[in-house]
């Protein structure tokens, strides 16, 4: 609209018939752009809103609205609907209900441990990259970006092959039997999360005046003191933002977990994938809605922390 208003005086100056024709076209163009933008926002939001609305729909198989219900949410906790059994087998339902809570618990444990490790290592390497010049710095820089751009499936497959060879080696040389599970998932999550934490913390460090640290060093503080008294309080929002991002990524990860998980280490996304692939019940809408709310809360928190001055 602003473009239209700004250019109007110009059109008055040009020959009248042409100006009228062009003015009409232009406003049509403006309307097309507004319409397109609105449609694009609808495209982004409608699928999500439909999931939320249908999680309260009483209808089981059709997409017709057959009244409001909370039974899909209840069924998540009772296990009904999760396996698509709906009252067929009580034992199976209890098992499924345990499954969902169990996978949520697994996800939280994995995400917490992976976040603590990745945030520590990511912050440290961010400091090294942003505050020091050294040989091979560019090589480390590339290695740090690789996990962000590499296709997830490539990373997942390479890790599972690596772990399998490692396990074979362990059993042959040391006689130790190891299988895929929590440790392999956590190791893999840390491997991609370090990079994301480093990016966020480096952005924070880049906006910081190194004179403060130099002044503290001149005043006789050692590196350790400079870090905890000066640097850390200043980059704290970045570190927390990075940590929350790592936590969200870990909690949400499907592809890499899909390959590095073993029996008994099913995470929430793996469980939901199973539901999507092998059942069709509105209980998936309910769990999707809950996961969406969870992600939104985490991300909003992360963004607020990163923006804090």
């Amino acid at each position: 609209m602003t473009a239209l208003n700004q250019s109007q005086p110009l059109m008055v100056a040009s020959p009248a018939p042409a100006a009228r024709g062009q003015g009409a076209r232009r406003s049509l163009g403006q309307w097309l752009i507004i319409t397109e933008a609105v449609l694009a926002f609808l495209f982004i939001y409608i699928p999500i809103l439909i999931l939320i609305v249908y999680s309260f729909n009483a209808s089981r198989f059709s997409s017709n609205w057959e009244g409001f219900t909370l039974s899909w949410y209840r069924s998540l906790l009772q296990g009904g609907g999760v396996l698509g059994l709906g009252g067929v087998d009580e034992a199976a339902q209890r098992f499924a209900a345990q499954g969902i809570l169990h996978s949520l618990r697994n996800s939280l444990i994995i995400a917490t441990i992976a976040t603590v490790i990745a945030t520590t290592l990511g912050t440290m390497i961010a400091l090294a990259m942003q505050r020091y010049r050294f040989k091979l710095r560019q090589v480390v820089d590339i290695m740090l970006y690789l996990p962000i751009i590499i296709p997830e499936i490539t990373m997942g497959i390479s890790l599972v092959i690596f772990f399998n060879l490692l396990f074979r080696l362990l059993s042959q040389v040391l006689g130790i039997t190891a299988v895929l599970g929590f440790p392999t998932i956590i190791i893999s999550h840390v491997a991609f999360n370090i990079s994301f934490v480093a990016v966020v913390v480096r952005a924070r460090l880049a906006g910081m005046d190194p004179a403060l640290e130099e002044a503290a060093q001149d005043a006789g503080a050692n590196d350790w003191q400079v870090f905890w008294r000066i640097v850390f309080p200043l980059i704290m929002p970045g570190v927390l933002g990075g940590a929350l991002m790592a936590f969200t990524l870990s909690l949400d990860d499907f592809v890499i977990t899909f390959y590095t998980a073993g029996i008994g280490s099913t995470t929430l996304p793996l469980f939901v994938y199973g539901m999507i692939k092998f059942t069709v019940t509105p209980a998936i809408n309910a769990i999707s809605t809950l996961m969406m709310i969870g992600s939104m809360v985490l991300v909003t928190l992360s963004l607020v922390l990163q923006r804090q001055q």
Partner: protein, 296 residues
């Protein structure tokens, strides 16, 4: 003289301490990435040149058969299709995102940042959930078919789920913000008085856009296209959930070779090839997109 020596010594000590601090900061993450990221990739590269054992497993015998196998029509068609789907996704994202980013960039500053947030927020929800949402919309008894049937526009449900169409919709939906953000960054910086100047010089809207706005926002276009293309070419979840047998992509092929066929060497070969394609796209990104235009 003594003082100079002392100062020199102090400086060296300081340097040594700095060196120690640097190593302390650098070592843990570097070692982690070397062992749990670079080494697995290296192993995969080596295995990609080996043979599959009779019962799965790997026979350590160097050969190029796996790479030659990529040219086999059955596999080549999947590479071709993946390219087509990724390019289609990129073009559609560009067409949807450009006017959208333009509109956002022309709003008052405060509204702008709210609108940008509105673009980003939904994409932080779980990818599986977002993909599943399209299953609810596209399936035969889904929302779109139910709506069209009840409006009397169609007599029988349209088959949309498990088709290449569904995969493209899912990919566009998943990658759209990667296009909107770099375009917006460019369109926001764009000096709109240049358009008036072009009009003054006698250009109509179309030519002003083609000759002025398009070249000046080209960095954003290039950045957005590459950023959408990269995840699209490596997609696995979207074609796995929304696609059918006619929309198998490279990601699904890798998964099948690895799990169903238990052919680790060939799965490695495809993964390495995929990585090379992605690396080329990334190299292009750093080559073509200046540092100031990079949003990611």
């Amino acid at each position: 003289m003594d003082m100079i020596v002392q100062a020199h010594e102090a400086a060296r000590q300081r340097q040594r301490q700095q060196q120690r601090t640097l190593h302390f900061l650098l070592a843990p993450a570097t070692i982690w990435l070397l062992v749990f990221f670079m080494l697995p990739l290296l192993i995969m590269l080596v295995i990609s040149f080996m043979k599959r054992g009779t019962y799965g497993g790997v026979v350590p015998e160097f050969n190029l058969a796996n790479y030659a196998q990529l040219l086999n029509a059955d596999y080549f068609i999947i590479f071709q299709r993946t390219m087509v789907l990724a390019v289609a996704t990129t073009v559609l994202c560009l067409v949807i995102a450009y006017p959208m980013a333009y509109w956002i960039a022309r709003q008052p500053p405060r509204l702008r940042s709210v609108l940008v947030m509105l673009v980003i927020i939904p994409f932080w929800t779980n990818f599986l959930v977002r993909t599943y949402a399209w299953m609810v919309l596209l399936r035969n008894e889904g929302v779109i078919n139910t709506l069209l049937l009840s409006l009397g526009l169609i007599d029988e449900p349209l088959t949309m789920l498990f088709t290449p169409f569904a995969v493209i919709v899912g990919l566009v939906y998943g990658e759209l913000p990667f296009m909107v953000l770099p375009l917006y960054a460019n369109l926001e910086k764009f000096d709109y008085s240049l358009m008036e100047a072009a009009h003054d010089a006698g250009a109509n809207n179309f030519w002003a856009f083609v000759r002025v706005m398009l070249p000046l926002t080209l960095p954003g276009i290039v950045a957005g296209c590459i950023l959408v293309f990269i995840p699209s070419i490596g997609a696995f979840v979207t074609p796995d959930i929304l696609g059918g047998s006619k929309s198998v992509m490279i990601g699904n092929l890798i998964d099948r070779q690895f799990k169903a066929a238990r052919d680790w060497p060939f799965a490695s070969t495809i993964s390495i090839t995929l990585m090379v394609i992605v690396s080329l796209a990334v190299a292009l990104y750093f080559r073509l997109v200046g540092e100031s235009d990079r949003t990611i």
